[in-house]
Symmetry: C2
Subunit: 241 residues, 2 copies
DNA sequence: CCTTGCAAACCGACCGGCGGTCTGCAATTA
DNA sequence: TAATTGCAGACCGCCGGTCGGTTTGCAAGG
């Protein structure tokens, strides 16, 4: 048995390749259920090669997270750099980022993303991702809120805490969204859609009230989001193990 | 080498013993870092003995969670069974459960509990515990909110969603509490205490507003909680690994 | 243009330890 | 005594991670 043919690559290229493979596997099988060997096989690299570039499986996860966070952050930074618009507009832009992101990319892929992220086995992946995004978003949202307070349109005692709470509350939607996605095609679909709409309404109402804005000021920015979500054909994949 | 002296016990007693040992270890070392062998050593039982009572390590975790949830739930059920008091009083009782629980039990132990629960390595334990408590609390809080709507004191479109959101928002306090605890004794303690107070205020303000109550209706039910928290001598344990 | 030298990329056998299984025995009960 | 049940501990497969050695690409010297 002669040794496997070998292909040296630039470190960055290898790293990127491994991160790509890892991301695919993490999203499909989950972090814990993905073996380092799985990544190795998919990338066609040996264990030694892998550990030359990453010092642990955890570092691989953080690498993947960094990549995703960067994507999210690039969208946010556009909002952050706008100094002229009134705070209320910036807030709208900020809150609509997610909806815009979902619409821009093909939505069905994002649905899969949510489903996988919210599985029991992916708690770690999900939690770390949320934390990462929250950390990145905090300063930007804080800045917006402070601006709003200065302009007199927001009424908030502690901008930082308010920002934190709003970001925290954003997680509420994920939860409802997941259940709605899981209910698609079943006989509870209608009920789930109503619950999703209620969650969306209540979340944004809460944001309004946290900031001392009139009810109905903020919204998801994508009125037909629920219909679109529920309409998407459910890709029934019986959990490949 | 003669076999280890052996002590048969009643199944329930063994189970309880193993659960007790597991709980101790999970809270000190975290779920993932606790080996089944660790539990065996502490309980003085063999692997075969263990797997005679539990079919997996996960079942052990759920067992521990059940025990804790039962403790929490027993407090809640008292509130739930009260049919006569007005909803606003029930809401107060419900929201004060946590504060009461902290005060009744020696507080320093609870501090440790929070610290451990919120460590990176305990994400799974924490998340599952929150989910469990939330599931148990949902119907009770929903019932209270519906009662409040019937009485005309609450203004809420969807009681279930409101209950879910309130329970969700309750998690915000954990986060702030943890940081305050970690800051005790350091030079950022004052700032952390202020932030904790701000988080508490904002959380309950948010609850008021979700339910359509006048600002300041709900509170933590333990005004000096922040002072007590910050005053407790920090038990500096340099993270036994 | 061909050595030669060397650092970096890579291989894969190997390790300790994990969760979990299994066979058999000892304690208990009938 | 026979049957049941609580339990011991050797064992298994697998996983994350290590390590000594090999290959590759490239630049300097002839």
């Amino acid at each position: 048995m002669k040794p496997t043919k070998r292909k040296n690559m630039q470190p960055e290229a290898r790293r990127a390749q491994l991160l790509g493979c890892a991301q695919m596997l993490f999203f499909s099988k989950g972090f814990e259920d993905t073996t380092v060997q799985d990544v190795l096989d998919l990338a066609g690299v040996s264990k030694g090669g892998f550990y030359h570039h990453f010092k642990s499986k955890d570092e691989l996860l953080f690498g993947v997270l960094d990549g995703m966070a960067e994507g999210v952050f690039s969208h946010m930074s556009v909002v952050a750099s706008d100094e002229t618009s009134p705070a209320i507009d910036l807030l709208h832009s900020f809150l609509h980022l997610r909806a815009n992101y979902l619409r821009e990319h093909e939505y069905s892929g994002q649905v899969e993303f949510f489903r996988v992220m919210n599985q029991e086995k992916n708690i770690i992946l999900h939690e770390r991702f949320k934390r990462r995004v929250c950390e990145d978003a905090m300063p930007i949202l804080t800045k917006i809120i402070k601006k709003g307070c200065d302009e007199g349109s927001f009424t908030v005692t502690d901008a930082e805490t308010a920002a934190e709470l709003i970001l925290f509350v954003s997680g509420f939607l994920d939860f409802a969204l997941l259940r709605a996605i899981d209910a698609r095609g079943t006989d509870t679909a209608d009920h789930a859609a109503q619950k999703l709409q209620a969650a969306i309404d209540m979340q944004f109402l809460t944001v309004d009230r946290i900031l001392g804005l009139p009810d109905g000021t903020t919204d998801f920015g994508w009125p037909e989001a629920v219909d679109v979500t529920m309409a998407t054909v459910p890709p029934i994949l019986p959990s490949a193990k």
